[in-house]
Symmetry: C2
């Protein structure tokens, strides 16, 4: 186990009806908030009005900015920064999923940044101040409601870049599984793949003597995989949504990743798909993760046998460990297929045209910079990324 | 799953050499601290001097109060309150195990309480202010380094009473498993039983649809049970201590208990043993927990079959579920015995003399108050407590 620090200061308010308390919950932080949200669904569902009513009854004023899209854009972040500065906003309240929360975080840090906020993403500059962020979650997926990360897409240069700081951890997040009942099946499945990937990126490691966090990862993955088909088939199942909802939050507050070298190659490879093709992050991860395992498993056969046995339930002869791993990969693909996720880049609408470009963007060589290989378990270079892309065309 | 709130704001600084940073870590909170500790071991090991050196090099002044005993006493809490008030202390720094940290928490809230601090414990009065508390942990057991609870013994009336408030959560805790290398075997075993009990008290529930937290409880219990015999046999095993050390912290920050009705009957019954006989809390729990399971399992046979199968690894015919549960109890007792823990009250030096008194104290009838039954899974009254005590005389 490596030395580590852990804290999970976000106040998670979980359960039925909890969105009605959002006004009173944010009041100690702010007299005025930026109400930030995505498209029509939040208005159609009535959630927007519930949040507005709650803010008003708690005496919280608000400015608002709607229209956040999946793979949230830098241009909207800049709009939000201007509003917050102009209206003396004290907290950014995201009502939505990971895209809205990520956009809120970028706005929150941009308000105090004297310059182009994209530079912070591009050059991973330190920040020393941000507005507090709070969230009412509408889809369990990205874990942004408890993480200190944000990922923003610069649409001008087609780049999707992540940034993290403890200052970006939401001060509170409301998670009411009832709000997930109206999600379309494809969004449910994408969210499931995203939260599973947040665990995989931490679970797959060469660090030894991390039994406790291995066990926590495995328990969380198995809970997700048992309950995901239930909510896809029956999106009104509150009990199953509770499991998925809290798993998504836990998957990304980094409890499951403490003390271990993490991987994150799949996220790096996927961001390039989303940046050019605007595909759903989870769908991209569902295609790439099994392909990545296939490409790297010989690096640490014990790790992937453990995955196949402890997570995917594979039995067999440990004298042929590769067979066990391969069966684990088959079962992972079957699981993703079962909940309606794609298995190839072709199904995502991605042809061969930009594969080399995306591979080179993944490790930064496309920008004429020194190559930055990805991955904690196995370092992969642009040729490796290209091979992985090609294996699932 | 029940509605819940979760936050784990304590900054856990985990790993080798971490105690040397304590001065810099507390400096943002305080220019002067109360250095609170137990007996000679912290001086003999050199830890006291390391902490003093770290405080001095960070420019942190300190008053000090040593001599905390297991089952920490109200009289010392009152001493600490006087010192903090007289010396304008801004943070209480506990260097020790659960007893020292619990004592530090009671001092921290007592400083601002205008009256006898025992009243807060006795009558569970709300508090609105406390000094911040930080800890350097010397034994993984009580989980007080991440919990918001404290348990204090009033030696005058032989009562041991717990109290909890979010204000008592340590702002930071340093956990260096190297500091555990010199623990005596009996203290190691007591600590293991204590942390396991913190999980059992949450795990055993009638609340349904708590698969995720069930899985987290089971993973944590299994990790503890795999690694405990290793550290008992080989107390210098850093890797195994890492697992036990982080498990102890996780066992009591309440992640494992969210969304479920918790039990806590065993803790209630054990506190009465410790209050009169000053036995080690963990040793008392090791005696009582299997006896409690035996007494209550018919209340929720499915829960205890799950425990036997998922935690204790029992196989067998589910057509005789009681046999599976009983085998689980046998294995739990065998585990405690293997690491040197007692199996009867007699081994704790407790005869039959005070059993009825302790049973009546457990549910408050001994004080002429209305009976307060214990237990979330099954309500137990003083006669039940007496039956459980008698089953393990």
């Amino acid at each position: 186990m490596e030395n580590f620090e852990f804290t999970a200061p976000t106040r998670i308010v979980f359960g039925k009806e909890s969105q009605h308390d959002i006004g009173a919950l944010v009041r100690p932080y702010a007299g005025k908030v930026l109400l930030h949200y995505g498209g029509k669904s939040v208005k159609n569902s009535g959630l927007y009005q519930q949040v507005v009513d709650s803010l008003r009854s708690a005496g919280v004023e608000f400015a608002e900015l709607g229209g956040v899209t999946p793979n949230p854009r830098l241009s909207m972040v800049n709009q939000g920064i201007e509003i917050c500065r102009g209206e003396n906003v004290e907290l950014v309240l995201a009502v939505g999923g990971g895209s809205v929360i990520d956009s809120a975080k970028a706005i929150a840090m941009g308000v105090y940044y004297d310059g182009d906020i994209w530079d912070v993403f591009d050059r991973q500059l330190p920040i020393d101040r941000a507005l507090p962020v709070a969230a009412v979650l509408t889809i369990p997926a990205a874990g942004s409601e408890s993480s200190f990360n944000t990922v923003i897409t610069n649409e001008e240069c087609q780049r999707k870049v992540g940034f993290g700081s403890p200052l970006l951890r939401p001060v509170l997040s409301v998670v009411n599984p009832e709000l997930f009942f109206t999600l379309p099946k494809n969004q449910i499945a994408n969210g499931v793949a995203d939260m599973m990937s947040h665990i995989f990126e931490r679970y797959f490691t060469n660090t030894t003597h991390v039994e406790l966090t291995d066990g926590l990862c495995e328990a969380t993955l198995k809970t997700i995989m048992r309950n995901a088909p239930i909510v896809v088939d029956d999106p009104g199942n509150y009990h199953a949504w509770c499991e998925i909802g809290f798993a998504g939050t836990l998957a990304h507050n980094n409890l499951l990743g403490v003390g271990r070298v993490q991987d994150w190659a799949c996220h790096g490879m996927e961001h390039e798909l989303s940046a050019i093709y605007d595909v759903a992050h989870g769908a991209g991860l569902a295609v790439l993760t099994p392909a990545w395992i296939e490409y790297v498993y010989t690096e640490n056969i014990g790790m992937f046998v453990q995955f196949a046995v402890n997570v995917m339930g594979v039995c067999g002869s440990f004298r042929q460990p590769e067979d066990i791993v391969r069966e684990g990969i088959v079962r992972l693909r079957e699981f993703f297929h079962k909940i309606g996720l794609p298995g190839t880049l072709g199904e995502l609408g991605i042809d061969g045209e930009n594969l080399e470009l995306m591979a080179k963007k993944t490790t930064l060589v496309a920008y004429g910079r020194p190559e930055r290989p990805r991955g904690g378990l196995k370092k992969i270079y642009w040729q490796d990324v290209l091979a992985i892309y090609n294996s699932v065309r």
